[in-house]
């Protein structure tokens, strides 16, 4: 039982990580809290749904829906986000908040208000037995995707020159510009990449949670909590925050269900009480 709980919590944490890492990079680079980040997650799931429906292939959906979500992100960056960088935070909040409604209505218009489900691919549709307990292999696959993204991100960010340029642009964008680094180009690609990761989160959880309008708001709140707890702008913070919130939420629901609704908020409040800048201050 404990193992099953542990794996569920890990799967949930990895989904939160995919969402939080994009949001936190965007915040670190642009000082914009993109409240529409959850909408991109929802769009990723819906685009995946269409690809899955038309081509009858989950794998195609898995590959193309993050790419298409990244393109949506690139479009949004070009027409909106690059203009509100350094703007009054209130303007940023209003704009990205407005995008949530546009996203929601667009989804209703295109895909309707019904909820849909996507089935896991044949290869991952069975459960496997882990210490006498059956466990859906698809959830293990989601954990695997999360860890894979984590390793790739770590490698790119820590071991390549491009990654070092991204980190430098987060640390001190002005100093980076003075060293011939085109931070705007880095912003554009990282923003789109972060949106693509939100899309990846959307399509990977679709077979578990289904696809429905409103799925964006549920994860948005959790993702924001992860980013705040981890420390806005910190990648390590996104990982540790996702694990903390994912585990507290999953285990809390099982062991102290009476407190399930408030426990993650309590964790956030406690973190901010002792570490006002989050666990990993940048």
């Amino acid at each position: 039982m404990l193992l099953i709980q542990f794996l569920n919590a890990l799967q949930f944490s990895m989904t939160l990580f995919l969402l939080a890492v994009g949001l936190t990079i965007i915040f670190g680079l642009m000082k914009i809290v993109n409240l529409a980040h959850g909408s991109l997650y929802m769009i990723g799931a819906y685009v995946g749904l269409s690809i899955w429906t038309y081509f009858d292939s989950f794998w195609l959906a898995l590959i193309f829906s993050p790419l298409i979500t990244a393109l949506v992100g690139a479009f949004l960056y070009y027409i909106l986000f690059r203009h509100i960088q350094n703007a009054d935070p209130m303007k940023q909040v209003l704009l990205t908040f407005g995008l949530i409604y546009i996203g929601l209505d667009s989804v209703r218009l295109i895909w309707g208000t019904m909820s849909h489900s996507i089935s896991a691919p044949e290869l991952l549709s069975k459960s496997i037995i882990l210490i006498n307990n059956p466990y859906p292999s698809y959830r293990l696959f989601v954990i695997f995707i999360g860890i894979l993204v984590l390793i790739c991100l770590y490698f790119i960010l820590e071991k390549t020159v491009i990654g070092a340029k991204v980190r430098a642009s987060v640390d001190d964008p002005e100093a980076a510009k003075l060293l011939k680094i085109n931070t705007d180009k880095i912003l554009f690609y990282t923003f789109s990449f972060g949106c693509g990761l939100a899309g990846l989160a959307g399509i990977t959880v679709a077979p578990i949670l289904g696809v429905e309008p409103g799925m964006d708001m549920e994860v948005l709140v959790l993702t924001l909590i992860v980013v705040v707890v981890g420390g806005p702008g910190s990648l390590k913070g996104a990982l540790v925050g996702a694990l903390l919130i994912g585990f507290v939420d999953s285990f809390g629901k099982v062991y102290i269900p009476q407190l399930a609704q408030i426990i993650i908020y309590a964790v956030m409040a406690l973190t901010l009480l002792f570490r006002p800048d989050g666990l990993y201050k940048r």
């Binding site: 980190r167 430098a168 987060v170 002005e174 100093a175 510009k177 003075l178 060293l179 011939k180 931070t183």
Partner: protein, 233 residues
């Protein structure tokens, strides 16, 4: 051909009119010291030149090239960079990474990592260290190394001696002299007027956002009493 020519520069921060007519000229390779009291607009002048703060009006010519509408990184590509007052350390990068991120793989580049490390041997032993773990003096050396790796023709230095021990200041003066001997020009903003005068050839005095006086170091020294009002020494 003049290295840097500033004409009637005006810059606002929001609604406050910070620079209200800055004018100076660095004719030939050398060092210009921009002096003035706290709040005179020295840092804003430097930031406006490299377009970190967008000037409202005026003209900035660098090697007879008008910098209007160029972004900071494009200006750096043209050979004009700045060492900011906070030294611009990248907290998540090691010393070596901080040097590596600067595009520098041209064969004809005068400064490469090997050469920079020869000039700043104290960095050699700390390549793996986080750049924010360095001492103030070492951070300043790293900041100058990074600036050199962009292969600049002009470096703007904002308060380079701030917080440095006297013996490190002397070392820094030697380094800046060496840089000048390589035909790289410097524009230096300093509270430490004596230090600035050690290396400067030209002086420009800024007061309340306006240029009050321009001239050679010789002329400046002749009449220091006259300038006291604006530089606070």
């Amino acid at each position: 051909m003049s290295i840097l020519n500033i004409k009637n520069l005006n810059t606002y921060y929001g609604k406050s009119h910070i620079l209200q007519g800055v004018n100076f000229n660095l004719d030939k390779p050398g060092c210009l010291a921009l002096l003035g009291r706290n709040g005179a607009g020295k840092t804003t002048t430097l930031r406006s030149i490299v377009n970190l703060t967008r000037p409202d009006s005026g003209e900035i010519n660098f090697n007879d090239l008008n910098l209007k509408d160029l972004s900071t990184y494009e200006i750096a590509e043209k050979g004009l960079t700045m060492v900011p007052e906070n030294r611009g350390m990248f907290s998540s990068l090691s010393v070596l990474e901080s040097l590596n991120i600067i595009n520098n793989n041209y064969n004809n580049s005068e400064w490469n990592i090997e050469r920079v490390l020869e000039s700043f041997p104290q960095l050699k032993t700390k390549l793996k260290n986080s750049s924010t773990s360095l001492s103030g003096g070492e951070q300043q050396m790293l900041a100058i190394s990074k600036a050199l790796l962009t292969n600049p023709k002009l470096i703007l230095l904002d308060e380079p001696t701030q917080g440095l021990a006297p013996n490190i200041v002397l070392e820094l003066i030697e380094i800046l002299r060496k840089i000048l001997s390589e035909h790289i020009s410097l524009l230096i903003v300093e509270q430490n007027v004596n230090m600035a005068l050690e290396i400067a050839t030209e002086v420009s005095i800024l007061g309340k956002g306006e240029t009050k006086w321009n001239g050679t170091k010789k002329d400046f020294k002749k009449n220091i009493a006259y300038h006291k009002e604006w530089i606070g020494i």
